[in-house]
């Protein structure tokens, strides 16, 4: 019964996230002006920046949950961390794919090994590695412990990705600021960042719900064995 109420609440959040994404997309595609230098293709910013933000936000949550798990040994922290890695991996892969689509018409190439692109690719591979580590350990406690260590160590790369464009010479431009984006483009960007954050929350809640079911199944199988 309690589970059903929760599912219903999640559905409302899902609908709110969907509505926000629809408004954000319409604004980005039809209301916001094209860019003076890049033209219409610059509208990719309204998805590329939010997916990059969600990837990094997600990995930050994994980092915090991993520390919490090692301190408190509560399996729920491990379940949130696992959920966060899966979602972060999806959004980081999207960031790379959308970035590549944006690079071709503007930079003239699909890919180059500049520090921003390279560190982002490494970030994706490290967190795929986190998921591989989970498959390595059968014992849930051992698995959670190993995962937490990887979840903490892997986070080292996240600020490196963010600061790569400041630290090193890159093809990728440095982060835009509120001053370097015209207001009529900044507002739809903020809206899309908020919309994607709602999507992230919804996906996290649903993935956590799945993690609970997985854990229950694992316990039942363990008893039956």
């Amino acid at each position: 019964m309690e589970r059903e109420t929760r599912d219903r609440r999640h559905r409302w959040l899902g609908l709110a996230a969907l509505a926000a994404v629809v408004v954000g997309t319409v604004w980005a595609l039809f209301v916001a002006p094209p860019d003076a230098a890049q033209g219409e293709v610059q509208r990719l910013m309204y998805v590329h920046v939010p997916t990059a933000w969600i990837g990094m936000l997600s990995f930050f949550v994994v980092f915090v949950m991993s520390i919490l798990y090692l301190v408190q040994r509560d399996p729920r922290w491990d379940m949130i961390a696992h959920s966060g890695v899966e979602i972060g991996v999806v959004f980081t892969a999207l960031t790379l794919a959308l970035g590549s689509l944006w690079a071709k018409p503007t930079w003239g190439i699909w890919w180059t090994w500049d520090p921003r692109l390279t560190t982002t690719a490494i970030m994706l591979i490290i967190y795929v590695g986190y998921l591989a580590v989970r498959g390595f350990a059968q014992d849930p406690e051992k698995r959670a412990r190993w995962s937490a260590v990887v979840g903490i160590v892997a986070f080292v790369d996240v600020p490196i990705v963010y600061l790569s464009v400041t630290w090193w010479r890159t093809l990728h431009q440095p982060p835009s600021t509120a001053r370097s984006i015209a207001p009529e483009m900044l507002w739809p960007l903020f809206l899309n960042l908020a919309a994607f954050t709602l999507v992230y929350l919804y996906l996290m809640l649903r993935r956590y719900r799945l993690a609970e079911a997985e854990r229950q199944l694992e316990e039942e199988t363990a008893i039956g064995r």
Binding site: A36, G135, S180
Partner: protein, 167 residues
């Protein structure tokens, strides 16, 4: 799947991932810590980098662009401050390529002081703003041939469209 098999696959997966990370970290990041050299750095290290694959970055010098689409051959100078390096490439200019634009080129620096590029990349700023009333953003989509005709001056400006004066 048996437990042993599962572990084996997980182990293989892990090894592949670690290998990929090492490959990326050692193989490419090492070379990429300095992603490109400036014209001044390239000239200072000419003897060292001559004939080696290297990247050069800077601004396309005003008045230096010469694009011959029929060969094809694109020549321009990449400058930064007081130094400039002449670049030759057979690749067509990307649509954002223009004088005063930041570029990064991949290729080799010859002993004749000319950089032969086999890859041309446009670097843009982090500024985004709508076009002015007089600007047409859709112009970005004109084909390279149209653009080159304008650029090289050998185009047929004025010859298109009917001339009202002729009978």
């Amino acid at each position: 799947m048996t437990q042993g098999k599962r572990r084996m696959w997980a182990g293989l997966g892990l090894a592949a991932v670690v290998g990929a990370i090492l490959y990326l970290a050692v193989g490419s990041l090492e070379n990429n810590m300095v992603y490109f050299l400036t014209p001044a750095e390239l000239q200072a290290r000419a003897a060292e980098v001559e004939g080696q694959p290297v990247r050069l970055g800077g601004m396309v010098q005003t008045g230096s662009v010469d694009w011959k689409p029929e060969e094809p051959l694109l020549r321009f100078s990449v400058g930064d401050g007081d130094s400039a390096v002449k670049v030759r490439t057979t690749s067509a200019p990307p649509s954002m390529f223009q004088e005063g634009q930041g570029v990064v080129v991949e290729g080799r620096y010859g002993s004749d002081g000319v950089f032969r590029a086999d890859r041309l990349m446009v670097k843009h700023s982090n500024e985004y703003k709508p076009p002015e009333d007089s600007e047409m953003p859709a112009e970005m989509y004109e084909s390279i041939s149209e653009k080159s005709e304008k650029g090289s001056g050998s185009g047929s400006e004025g010859s298109t469209g009917p001339s009202p004066g002729s009978p």
